[in-house]
Symmetry: C2
Subunit: 378 residues, 2 copies
Amino acid sequence: MGIDVMYHYTVGDNPERLKDMYKMALKDCDIVVTTGGLGPTQDDLTKEMACQVLEDELILNEEAMRRLNEYAAKMGRPMTENNRKQAYLPSRATVFQNNAGSAPGFALEKEGKHIICMPGPPREMKAMWNESVVPYPQGMSDGALYYRIIRCFGIGESLLETELLDLIDGQTDPTLATYAKEGECQVRVASKRATLEEAKAAVDEMIKKVDERVGEFVYSHDDENLVDVVARKLMDQGLTLASAESCTGGMFAAAMTDVPGISSVFHRGYVTYSNEAKMDILGVKEETLAAHGAVSEETAREMVEGLARVSGADVCVSVTGIAGPGGGTPEKPVGLVYMGFKHGDNVQVIKYQGHSNSRAWNRSHSLLSMLDLINKNI
Amino acid sequence: MGIDVMYHYTVGDNPERLKDMYKMALKDCDIVVTTGGLGPTQDDLTKEMACQVLEDELILNEEAMRRLNEYAAKMGRPMTENNRKQAYLPSRATVFQNNAGSAPGFALEKEGKHIICMPGPPREMKAMWNESVVPYPQGMSDGALYYRIIRCFGIGESLLETELLDLIDGQTDPTLATYAKEGECQVRVASKRATLEEAKAAVDEMIKKVDERVGEFVYSHDDENLVDVVARKLMDQGLTLASAESCTGGMFAAAMTDVPGISSVFHRGYVTYSNEAKMDILGVKEETLAAHGAVSEETAREMVEGLARVSGADVCVSVTGIAGPGGGTPEKPVGLVYMGFKHGDNVQVIKYQGHSNSRAWNRSHSLLSMLDLINKNI
C-alpha cells in the first residue's frame, strides 16, 4: 500500500501491557493494526484497551448482534452470555463485519491516530482484511507501492543473489530482495512512486532484467504456487493426470486436489507405500524390487508405466525415495528420490539426492520436484 | 525456564528505533534476547545499539577472529573487511561462539539488566541457544514453570470455556487458557511454583478436573497431534490401516505417512476422486452412485467395504464430501461429508455437515474427523 511498517509486536493478554504497547506504537506511527483478542472470553481485551487509549466506550452494535445470533443459529450452537460480549464495539467505530466467523472487527480514530482491530484466527482475519479493511488504510498512503513476487525452483538463494547482485546493490527503486522458502526461492521486486502506473512500469521493466539472468528457474511472476501453475496448464490443455506415490505418501494428490475444479483432470491417485502395493496396484515386478530395491530408477519407471496402464491418464507421475530420518544406507542415503514422468512417448526418470535428514523437507522437496517435472514437460 | 515472557518485538535495521526498543523492554524486563543484526553488513546494528544502551564499547575478540578465519577457510571464502566486523564484541561480553555459522553471539550486563544477542539464521540461532546460551538465563529464574497442553476435538472454544469457566476464573495458579486452532481446541494448564515437582503436581491435579468436565473430547494431554496419537495406537496394536479418499484427495494418507515408522502399519491408500475411480478401484456400484450420488452414506459405505476387500487392511477408512467452494446444491450443500470406518464387524458411516464455504477448512476438518473416528474406535 505504500505505508511504511515500523514495528511488529506480540504481547500477552494483560491489560496494562496491551495499553503500553498501543501508546508506544502510536507515539511513532499513525496506524496500529491488531489481530486477536476480540473473542468471547475473559482474556480478550484488545478492544477494551483500544477504547481506553483512544478515549471511547463500548456500546451494543445491533447489526453485530444480529449477525452473531445468525452465526450461532447456523452453527447450531447456543448463544452464550460471553458470546454477546463480541457485539459490543467502540461507539465511534468503523465496523468490519466477520463473514468467516463470529467476532466483528473495527477501526477507531482519534486526532489522526488509528487502531484497526481484527480477529485472530488467520482464516477470519485474512477474509476480513481483504473484504473490508483494505480501503481504510489505503486512503492514508502518501504514494503508491507496487510489487511482484517472482518464484523460482531449482536454484539456491545464494546463487540467485549472486546472479542478481548488481541489480540488488545498484538500485534504490525498484528494490530487489531475495528470499529462501522451503526449497524454493523468491525475488520480490518493489517500487514506490507517485502513481501506481509509474510503480508498475518500473517493476515490470526490472522483471525483464531478472528474467534475462535467471528466467530458466522462474515458474511464476505473480507469487503463484507451483501446484496452481501446473493445475492451470493441465486444465487449459485438457490433460488428465494420475499419481503413484511412495515417499510423499499422498502429498502430491493432496496438493493437486487442493485446487478447486481439478476434478476435470485429476481422477485418481495411488499411495503405494509398501512393496506389495507397488506390485499389486502398479504391476512393479518382484524381480525389479529384489534386484534394484524400492528406491531405484527401475522401480520409479515401472511405477509410472504401470500407473499409465491402470489409470489411462494422459500425464502420469511417480515417486519413490527415502524420506528419513531413518532407513538410509551408505549406498542409498536419506534424501535419495527417484521421480518418474510419462506423457505419451516422453518417459523420464529423474534422480535427486537431498542433503537434509528432515522427513518434512525431503517430502516437500519431492513434491515440488514432481510439480517442476510436470511443469517443464507439458 | 520459569521466566515470564512479556513481549516479542520485530523492528527494522534502524539505529534509533532499535535503541528505543531496548530501552522500552529493559524498563519492564530484566533480560532482552535478540536475534539477527550481528552479520557483516552495514545495516547490522544490534550489538552497536546494545553497547550504547548498556554503556560498553566494541573491542576485537581474538578467539572470535580466529574462528572467523577458520570458518572462511572452511567455506572457501575470502575474509573480507566487513566480515572482520563480526569479531568485534562488547568489552564486558560473555561470548557465545557460533558452531553453525560465522557471527558469534554474546550476553552483556549492566546493573542487573541483560541483553543476549544471537545471530538471525534459525539454524545458527537454535544451535547457539541450545549449546551455549541456555545456562545464562536459567540461573536467573525465581521459580519453576511447568505446563501441559490438552488437545480436544469436537467441541468449540466458547463451549469449552463455558464448561471450564469456574476453573479459569477461580484460579491464580495453575492458570488455564483456552485456544482455538483450525477445528480443534486446546487448554493450556500452567503452574509456576518454587520447585518443578510442586508445579507438576499442581498441573496434573488440575488436568484431572478438566478431564472430569470435557474428557470425552480430549485426545491428548501432551500437545500431541491427533495423527500421532492414532499412529501410535495402530503401531502399538499392530493394526494395519488403509484409506480411500475422495474430497480430502490424499491428505489423510499424506498425514499418516508424515509419521516416521508408519510403513509398518500403513501400506497403501487410494485417492478415488472420480466416480470411475470409485467403481474401478473400490467396486462401488454404478447404481449406488446413480441413486444416491458420490456424496452419500451408501457410497461412503461401499467405499470402505471395497477398500477392506482390495487392501486386506485391519482398519479401513473412507471419505466423500463436497469440499467447495463450488459444487454444492440445496440438498447437498458445501461442507457435507460422509466418512466410513471398518474394523472387523465394526462398520460405521458418520455424516458431518460443515458450515464453511472454505475448501481448505472443509478438507482439513474432514481429515481430523477421520482421525477422530479411528481414535474412538480402536
